[in-house]
């Protein structure tokens, strides 16, 4: 089969010099940034005492430590662990849901495509930053002052600190949404509320759902807040077993959490695909 003839590259080059020879600044910007990032990385490795020999010597050691974890064994504490798991799940569910409910409206004010005014966005974003910047331990202490020790303080502490993270994440998801669909609503005379409800939400809901479920998962895993406020929880059990180096129990607990995490991951997938739906035709 006869193929189309070749093009005269030299001629095209002469005609569109800037396409063929991009200015050095544009060409080198990305590589320069990568090199810089890499340089800091290498500096970090050296400064933090990384050495390949240590790494390789150590790798051989890893085996037997993992052996200590086998077989996973809950001892006699299985009912206790299951209860702790339940407690943790409810605290995480409630706290994260609260955080998401409050963060959603606030995140709109932090999103560039909803609030174009930088003046308005700036304080909202800084507020969210500050909330995130305050350690969870502090939030726990603050709420203990209000409602005392107990799971409720844990719920509130999770709600506040995740609020800061959600506000940021939601707003960035919103910024990534397709403006065309929003414009469709705007052109029909929809208010800002309508644009958000019908133009933005359907697009960002799967992302938001994924993030919320991820945070539930992450709160279920983490020991800090729930343990601090005296609500027990699976994380506290795990921390204890780590502290006393009961590796078999540790591995059992990790397995248990893994199952819960996989379950949440499964739900998350189902939920998001219920929203995303089957792929569109072209």
């Amino acid at each position: 089969m006869s193929k189309p003839p070749e093009v005269d590259a030299a001629q095209m080059r002469a005609r569109y010099p800037d396409v063929f020879e991009r200015p050095a600044a544009a060409r080198l910007a990305t590589p320069a940034m990568i090199v810089a990032a890499f340089a800091i990385f290498i500096y970090g490795l050296v400064d933090l005492d990384f050495s390949p020999s240590r790494l390789f010597n150590g790798l051989s050691q890893l085996g037997w430590i993992s052996m200590m974890m086998i077989p996973p064994d809950p001892g006699s504490s299985l009912p206790l662990y299951l209860k702790a798991m339940g407690e943790t799940l409810s605290i995480a569910l409630l706290g994260t849901t609260l955080a998401a409910l409050f963060a959603l409206p606030v995140s709109l004010f932090a999103a560039r495509n909803v609030v174009p005014s930088k003046l308005l966005r700036f304080p909202v974003r800084r507020l969210l930053d500050s909330i995130r910047g305050v350690d969870t331990l502090i939030w726990a202490l603050v709420w203990i002052n209000v409602v005392g020790l107990g799971p409720f303080a844990g719920v509130l502490a999770i709600a506040v600190s995740d609020f800061g993270a959600f506000g940021k994440l939601f707003s960035e998801a919103i910024e990534g949404a397709d403006q065309k669909q929003v414009e469709g609503i705007r052109a029909s005379g929809g208010s800002a509320l309508h644009e958000i409800r019908f133009g933005l939400l359907p697009q960002v809901l799967p992302v938001i759902a994924g993030q919320v479920l991820y945070f539930i998962e992450s709160n279920t895993r983490s020991a800090t807040i729930i343990g601090i406020v005296g609500a027990g929880g699976i994380g506290l059990q795990l921390a204890e077993q780590i502290r006393v180096l009961e590796w078999q129990k540790v591995s059992f607990l990790i397995l248990m959490i893994l199952v819960a995490v996989a379950a949440i991951d499964f739900i998350s997938g189902k939920l998001r695909f219920a929203i995303i739906g089957r792929r569109a035709v072209a």
Partner: protein, 269 residues
């Protein structure tokens, strides 16, 4: 009466619309023609205030559209229905809900936000869909439709707005002849029966000539022609499109396959 005065819309250095001025009297059916990239879409988008004009004014029945803000701006948008070239449907909502978006401006927020659409509006939306043969797809998600089906949903959305002016950006680009006729007839009908002004970007000069009272030709952002379809002479068409008039105005566009057309210098590849 739509009055456009010295309208300019820039993107960076490029003027997509450049000092455009014209008037459309109520009940007019005006076609906007011009080459791809001439600024037709931008013109319509500016009139709907989706793009902000860099300069110039738009007036409609003594309202200064360019100065509107807030609720009044929304009302103006509800009055001037826009049909987008790329449909701008919400892919994850079903077809009926997409059409109902056209009714948003007419109902209190609590109603629409909780999706408790009035029966009346649902009936209207369903009728609009049926008119374009796609009522059976009402429950399907918009992004699962074929191109032409999506386009018709977008048109239905604009019509249920019950607007005073329709800004249609190539509303029949993805439609087959039958649906083209249905859609253009529908536009014509509401134009003639109810005096709704229609401003319509069209690529087919045949259609433009048969449906429009008047044509506005654009080239590189400027209005270079404004007159009745009959005034669109060969000369003007050539200027607009850079083509032989015969090719533009219908008829067989190419010679039979033996005479294969060559294309300028770049005709390699």
């Amino acid at each position: 009466m739509l009055v456009v005065e010295g309208l300019t819309c820039r993107f960076g250095a490029k003027a997509a619309v450049d000092d455009a001025s014209f008037q459309v009297s109520p009940g007019g059916f005006v076609g906007v023609i011009g080459r791809s990239g001439a600024g037709k879409s931008t013109l319509l988008r500016t009139i709907n205030r989706l793009a902000t004009p860099t300069q110039g004014r738009i007036l409609f029945d003594d309202i200064d559209v360019t100065a509107l803000r807030g609720k009044e701006l929304r009302q103006w948008r509800a009055r001037s229905a826009m049909i987008f070239q790329q449909f701008n449907l919400v892919g994850r909502l079903d077809v009926l809900t997409n059409v109902l978006m056209g009714r948003l401006a007419t109902m209190p927020a609590w109603r629409s936000l909780s999706q408790l659409w009035p029966e009346q509006d649902k009936a209207l939306a369903m009728s609009a869909l049926e008119q374009f043969d796609i009522a059976s797809l009402a429950a399907q998600r918009a992004d699962q439709l074929s191109g032409g089906q999506q386009q018709r949903v977008a048109i239905a959305r604009a019509l249920v707005q019950q607007p005073d002016i329709i800004l249609a950006d190539e509303p029949i680009a993805s439609l087959d002849p039958r649906n083209t006729k249905i859609v253009m007839d529908a536009l014509l009908r509401i134009n003639k029966h109810f005096g709704i002004t229609v401003l319509c970007n069209l690529h087919s000069l045949d259609l433009a000539r048969s449906y429009c009272d008047r044509l506005i030709g654009m080239a590189q952002g400027r209005v270079v022609f404004d007159g009745a379809p009959a005034e669109l002479t060969d000369h003007v068409a050539r200027e607009l499109y850079d083509l032989e008039a015969a090719d533009v105005m219908g008829g067989t566009p190419v010679p039979a396959p033996e005479g294969i057309p060559a294309l300028g210098t770049a005709a390699a590849a």
